[in-house]
């Protein structure tokens, strides 16, 4: 069987993901054709260098559907008709339902391979696109029983060319996994933040970093997330059963304590311990294990140039800063800067900064 090439690729949809994939493929010279019902968006993607406008006739090797989840099945069925030899894929964050609907609409199973690059930004639209958006990110593929193996190889090559890392799952496995690690957390963030809508000013004013971190994604795009939640309704509602069960048990234990019963310390500790164990299983950035860095904290004046002196000192000592966190202290002319470095560099960085007169905190 002859290998299938990936060029030209037709990307339908010039949003954040479609444009980013175009940019990533253009890095290595792949011929990228762009199409979007909104010509202004497509033109913006073209202007950014994500590809050239589809001319209405070229037959692509691969068609990537980068449209909202609720439109994928219909648009993929159209593409299957229009491009009878192309391999078809998509980038939607739900899979079972889209695969089902696509097959029902006549999309041939042998040349459709569902995909989901695990990358995104809080921003949307072509202007937010980046050539490196999916670099080293997991990109889940959901081949089916009847998928043509040469076409699967071809789509894997596409993923690698875009910079992604292939992981194969069944559509159902994919949907359960994203329900647990992505969709349920979105529902929880929204539900938690919703409790603040009618809270008193005296209450929200004391909110701390914990609540801010836990509700950040509640600011996400409502239309896109409605699509995602409804598109993966089954696995999400299943996963929510476990979560609401845990919360209800905790609530009952606390209510019984509040009603004058004995302190239900065991029940409360159980959820805290289970949470600690579960949290420890989450890998660090990009699938790595949790960060092995140590932090060196320095109090500096909150004015231009202070941070520069710190990082210059680190650079001159040959120490790479793995992360930097700046904590401002409102209304005071000082701020705390936390520098994360590899453990073997921690003591040395501290010594270097102290020798330069920096106010290093431990």
């Amino acid at each position: 069987v002859a290998e299938r090439g990936i060029s030209p690729v037709l990307i339908i949809g010039s949003g954040l993901i479609g444009t980013s994939l175009g940019l990533s493929l253009r890095r290595v010279g792949t011929d990228v054709l762009l199409d979007d019902r909104d010509e202004a968006k497509r033109d913006e993607a073209v202007a950014m260098g994500a590809g050239r406008p589809w001319d209405g006739s070229t037959q692509p090797q691969i068609v990537i559907l980068a449209v909202p989840p609720s439109e994928v099945a219909k648009r993929i069925a159209e593409a299957a008709q229009q491009f009878p030899d192309a391999t078809l894929t998509d980038v939607a964050s739900v899979k079972s339902r889209i695969v089902q609907e696509a097959l029902a609409a006549g999309v041939p199973a042998e040349r459709y391979i569902g995909g989901h690059p695990m990358a995104g930004r809080e921003l949307s639209g072509p202007s937010a696109a980046r050539a490196d958006l999916v670099d080293d990110r997991l990109w889940i593929l959901t081949p089916l029983e009847h998928t043509d193996p040469t076409r699967l190889t071809q789509i894997k090559e596409l993923v690698r060319t875009c910079g992604g890392v292939v992981r194969e799952m069944s559509p159902a496995q994919h949907d359960q996994a994203v329900a647990l690690v992505s969709h349920v957390p979105q529902v929880v963030a929204s539900a938690l933040a919703a409790q603040l809508r009618d809270a008193g000013e005296d209450q929200v004013v004391i909110a701390g970093q914990g609540l801010r971190d836990m509700t950040r994604i509640a600011a996400s795009n409502v239309d896109l997330w409605s699509d995602i939640l409804l598109g993966n309704a089954g696995p999400i509602s299943d996963a929510l059963v476990g979560l609401t069960g845990t919360l209800d048990e905790t609530r009952k234990a606390l209510a019984a304590t509040a009603a004058g019963g004995p302190a239900n310390r065991d029940a409360v500790q159980e959820v805290l311990l289970a949470g600690r164990d579960g949290q420890a299983r989450i890998p660090g950035k990009h699938g790595a294990q949790a960060s092995p860095y140590v932090e060196v904290a320095v109090m500096v004046e909150d004015k231009p140039g202070q941070l520069a002196q710190l990082v210059v000192a680190a650079g001159e000592a040959g120490i790479n800063l793995e992360d930097v966190r700046i904590e401002h202290v409102l209304g005071r002319p000082s701020g705390l800067i936390e520098l994360a470095v590899r453990p073997e560099n921690g003591a040395r960085l501290e010594a270097v900064l102290r020798s330069l007169g920096f106010d290093v905190r431990t």
Copy 2:
């Protein structure tokens, strides 16, 4: 009525908070006496400069109980006996129950004023203490009907001397507020993380930043949080009713959709919209409104000195960096650095960096 001074202050408990308060008071020369049943901890706090060991006889003006929530009431009652003229306060994150138990144990209402500095770290113990821990943080005081006004003035002076910002509430108001913005989020983070404990490796490996942010506090100290949750059981279980109600409605809407019913788009959008509105009410760091900064993203090589060049350039242009975020791209010799600056400086920083040949992303 003569004013009451604050010096000497006796701090009972040499953990993170007790030691930090000692350090903050020592900055301005207040006489600080330290006591802890664990002499090694007290000695560590003394060695750090947080105060001198209590000599067993000096009568302090103020006694701060900085012990775990479950011990506060009992220890405050002991202190009330031992120091018949001292003003008493504590730093526990629950109030109604402690006040009730303290009064029941004979603590005189006129000289006990509950307190709660809204500050903490993920670390604990005297070695994690910082003189600036409560600088510009809210410090809630819960005076009672019979509180002596001169003693309230005295404790307010203590708070200001430590660097904190006083906010008065009733014990019940305090407990409802912290239940909503701190204790329920802790329960939710733990319950959410608990769902991962028995998840498959294929599932946890795809976890992203959203889940990491939402479960970070699930790694908190289990004993301390058991104390807090049981100590504020009533307001927390009340607040959990609203949250679990919202989650249950969402779960039912999704389950009905999954069972083949119509897509319950309205119900799903309702929780997402309410979450977006609630999230927008959370103030930024330190009680300020949400960050007004803009971000300038730069792709750099992942090696020492790159960050330095960036911040030096910003400093030379007189632009203060409000925040810095470094995103590494695993296995690639490049990283994305996001610099947050005030809106009026955004375009200028971009221009400055571009003119220096930096790869600025938009």
